[in-house]
């Protein structure tokens, strides 16, 4: 997955200089463009799948597939297009915490709404 084309590899010094002579190089991982193209094709395929599945009635399974496909697509975008797979641990912490807080938001909201009678009837 992380193959590098020859022109993108770290500068190799023909006379064998030690690496500390190299300029401070951003750690940004250069991934082959083929990876991006592959991710794009998978995203298109998943979009077709989610539309096809929505064309049939599988009951609650429809929602499971719709969300499953969307989460898979989002994960691919985060990992490859957004380079999360190659980024620092601190970035992973930020991503994980944003997801954790979103889950808390939805979970507590639903715990409240779904445990009450609905519609709420005003007294009198």
């Amino acid at each position: 997955m992380s193959e590098q084309l020859p022109s993108e590899s770290q500068p190799t010094h023909p006379r064998g200089h030690a690496p500390e002579n190299q300029p401070a190089h951003p750690r940004g991982h250069v991934v082959s463009w083929k990876v991006y193209l592959a991710v794009f094709l998978v995203l298109c395929a998943l979009t077709v799948i989610t539309v096809q599945v929505a064309g049939h009635d599988f009951g609650p399974f429809n929602l499971v597939v719709a969300l499953g496909v969307a989460i898979t697509k989002a994960t691919l975008v985060v990992l490859y297009f957004m380079h999360a797979r190659y980024s620092e641990k601190l970035t992973h912490v930020v991503i994980a915490s944003s997801l954790a807080f979103f889950v808390i938001l939805v979970f507590l909201l639903l715990a409240d709404y779904l445990s009450r009678p609905w519609p709420l009837v005003a007294a009198g």
Binding site: H25, W33, T50
Partner: protein, 236 residues
């Protein structure tokens, strides 16, 4: 670049701000800032997604009827357009990182073009729902929530006629906030394209290209969830 020049630029790269030790540290700090901003955006949109979840649980039939009234073909087309714009954006960052300078602006312009196609489609999609709300007194087919909302267009009456307005409120609110993010993103992309055209970016320093890429991909992810949740409820 000769080794000597490379070494000198490491010490005094024009893009290196004085508070950072080196370009890598500067890049990590900028990238972290962008990710924290995106984390905040997740919760910004998260409030709307949470609202959606609650009302879909409460009024599943109204949401299904409302969703059937949206054209999933248009949504499908726009999803592919936006995914393609993410690909060109990723290729722009890739070109900057691998030193293919003259391609960066081209890929960013392609991203802008695809983003504009998305917004153009959205314009017509909104138009057919909003236009009937104005003009002659009947408002037939008006799908903007409010007193002009035409529930008979959806063959609904009674409580469901009100509930489906919640669906359309969320439709306009969520896709509108998403479109606003794209409208903000496009001028930023234009600026970065202009700067990359001027030759500001190199494999050593192209953080702005990377960061605007993160923003654009995030906006893509929001749509990846909006498409099935708004356009594909129930069976078609």
């Amino acid at each position: 670049m000769s080794e000597l020049a490379a070494h000198a630029s490491a010490a005094h790269h024009p893009a290196l701000q004085h508070q950072f030790t080196n370009l890598e540290q500067q890049r990590e700090a900028s990238s972290l800032g962008m990710w924290v901003f995106i984390a905040q955006e997740v919760l910004f949109f998260g409030g709307l997604f949470a609202t959606y979840t609650v009302y879909r649980f409460l009024y599943p039939e109204a949401f299904s009827v409302g969703s059937h009234h949206l054209s999933f073909k248009i949504g499908f087309f726009n999803t592919l357009v936006l995914i393609a714009s993410s690909l060109t954006m990723a290729m722009g960052v890739y070109s900057a990182a691998s030193g293919k300078k003259n391609r960066v602006a081209g890929f960013i312009l392609a991203t802008i073009l695809l983003g504009s196609v998305f917004l153009g489609v959205k314009y017509f999609e909104y138009g057919e729902k909003i236009r009937p709300c104005f003009g002659d007194g009947t408002h037939t087919g008006c799908l903007v929530p409010g007193h002009r909302f035409d529930a008979s267009a959806l063959h609904l009456e009674g409580d469901s006629a009100g509930h489906v307005q919640i669906f359309f409120s969320l439709y306009f609110g969520m896709t509108g906030l998403h479109a606003l993010h794209m409208i903000i993103g496009i001028p930023i992309l234009l600026l970065i394209a202009w700067w990359s055209w001027q030759g500001r970016y190199s494999p050593e320093y192209h953080t702005p290209v990377e960061l605007v890429g993160l923003y654009w991909h995030f906006v893509d992810i929001v749509w990846i969830f909006l498409f099935p949740l708004l356009y594909l409820i129930g069976s078609h």
